[in-house]
């Protein structure tokens, strides 16, 4: 018995030790990430590249079947003046998605950042702020009714201690702006799925529980909310995979559709000098990507809305410019060559 158990454990380790190392010899022209999984895989696109950079465009349409606008639908772009909506950029992206049979995910209707100056300086009373919110949401959702499958209705309304952010919307409308936003979006397009979207939901259980509890109560009160977008801007060091699993499970257990809405896995969260990514870090990044995809795939089919990469290549990721550091968080390098993470997904999914 003792000998048997010893051999079993030894055998198990030999199996693991003999597994082949990952390879990075895979060609995106001969593979498609979207065909490896039974859920939608999306990408947030840069409107300055889509339509202007052929290689970018080809990679987007060959690898993904869902599209999110990284910026084009944020208020500062789409609603630059109180009496003016600028549809040019958003129209281009929605048309691209339709022409290539891709799902379009609208991002985002209500956020406290990237607001146009006229909203930041708006001096109305509570009723005028409510009317502004209603007009902003209904005009945008109406325009794309039937063409946008789902919307991130409210983005990042909570802070890290689980309380509501004192945003410009909160200051003028109180907590009711969240409920109103979902109701207006639903009135404008009853068929669109409506999501709440936020960051650090895996890293911070306090915030996650507060968000889920708040949205559950809203849902019970009849507010039309379908899902939660967990952004998953994570890195190779933390959070633990078990925390990512927990986050996904808790969202689904609460009955919400799950969207990993802004996935990227940074290599350099401590902002060290990193002119080139290290091989070992790229391998860890690859393992993490695979772990996220596999954990997502274990969720109930009805609740799997999809995974969206927050950018296509390391060259167009938001991370290096936002944090002022060298980093390589996405599946493709700056020359649109597949990284180890892409290869791992193609080989192991």
């Amino acid at each position: 018995m003792r000998k048997g158990a010893f051999h079993f454990i030894l055998g198990l380790f030999c199996c693991v030790a003999c597994k082949p190392e990952y390879s990075n010899h895979c060609n995106p022209k001969e593979n498609a990430l979207k065909e490896r999984v039974n859920f939608k895989v999306g990408v947030a696109v840069d409107h300055d590249l889509l339509g202007f950079d052929l290689a970018y465009e080809e990679l987007v349409q060959s690898q993904f079947n869902s599209l999110s606008p990284e910026n084009a639908m944020k208020a500062s772009y789409i609603h630059p003046a109180s009496d003016q909506f600028d549809w040019y950029l958003a129209d281009r992206l929605v048309n691209f998605a339709e022409n290539h049979g891709m799902r379009f995910h609208g991002h985002t209707l209500i956020w406290h950042q990237q607001l146009p100056e006229w909203i930041e300086n708006f001096a109305g009373d509570r009723e005028q702020w409510r009317a502004l919110l209603e007009q902003h949401i209904k005009t945008i959702v109406n325009r794309y009714k039937g063409r946008v499958a789902a919307w991130d209705v409210v983005n990042e309304a909570f802070v890290e201690d689980g309380s509501l952010r004192n945003s410009i919307w909160y200051q003028h409308l109180g907590a009711s702006y969240i409920r109103l936003a979902f109701e207006y979006a639903h009135e404008a397009d009853p068929d669109a799925l409506l999501f709440y979207n936020d960051y650090n939901l895996a890293q911070n259980p306090l915030k996650r529980k507060a968000v889920i509890r708040y949205l559950e109560e809203m849902k019970l009160a009849g507010v039309p909310i379908d899902g939660i977008g967990c952004q998953f801007h994570i890195n190779i060091h933390f959070p633990e995979v078990s925390d990512l699993n927990k986050c996904m499970e808790e969202v689904c257990q609460a009955g919400f559709k799950l969207h990993i809405s802004e996935l990227d896995i940074a290599l350099n969260p401590f902002s060290r000098s990193m002119p080139q990514p290290k091989e070992a870090d790229l391998k860890r990044q690859a393992d993490r990507y695979l772990a996220v995809f596999k954990a997502f795939d274990r969720q109930p089919n009805l609740l799997k809305y999809g995974i969206t990469m927050w950018g296509l290549s390391d060259a167009d990721s938001w991370i290096p410019s936002y944090f002022n550091r060298e980093d390589y968080p996405l599946l493709f390098d700056g020359n649109y060559q597949a990284k180890a993470a892409y290869c791992k997904l193609i080989e192991s999914l």
Binding site: M1, R2, A5, F6, I9, L12, F13, C15, V16, A17, K19, Y22, I236, H237, F238, P239, E240, V241, S242, N245, K246, E249, R284, D287, L290, A291, K294, A295, R298, K344, E347, S348
Partner: protein
């Protein structure tokens, strides 16, 4: 560090094969455990994450050393490794990370001398020691 993981696993196997066992449950962590005789100087402990998909079940194997043993309380420290054996089938590393332990067990019932309250602090690190968490656990245990 893989050698360390193997060592911990082998120690656990030795403890498990010849020991008088105990069980434990840590409700806040959703963990269930089985351990060898906690009254010995060295004892082994194996914990499984529960209330999760099978593919997410992690196994933590720990070797503990009783620093002080009193009639009602034992104070221990230890080292362990956290695995997900299902990862082996999924082309992922099976070792998730490593943990250190400082804990104590209180025998609080005269009528049930095997019943114990367990409290632990446990710094946990990923396999590269570049990130981790400070865990605390409170649970009930029974030594047969």
């Amino acid at each position: 560090m893989t050698r360390f993981s193997i060592l911990i696993l082998l120690c656990m196997a030795c403890f498990g094969l010849k020991a008088q066992v105990g069980i434990s449950y840590y409700p806040f962590q959703s963990e269930v455990g089985i351990n060898s005789n906690v009254d010995k100087l060295l004892w082994g402990d194996l914990r499984l994450a529960s209330n999760t998909f099978y593919g997410n079940i992690t196994t933590e194997t720990n070797v503990m050393w009783n620093v002080k043993r009193y009639q009602k309380v034992s104070v221990y420290t230890g080292l362990g490794a956290n695995f997900n054996f299902f990862n082996a089938a999924g082309d992922l590393p099976i070792t998730n990370g490593y943990a250190a332990f400082a804990g104590c067990r209180f025998r609080f019932s005269k009528a049930w001398p095997g019943l114990q309250l367990a409290f632990e602090l446990s710094p946990y690190f990923n396999t590269s020691f570049s990130g981790g968490t400070l865990r605390s656990s409170l649970g009930l245990a029974y030594q047969f």
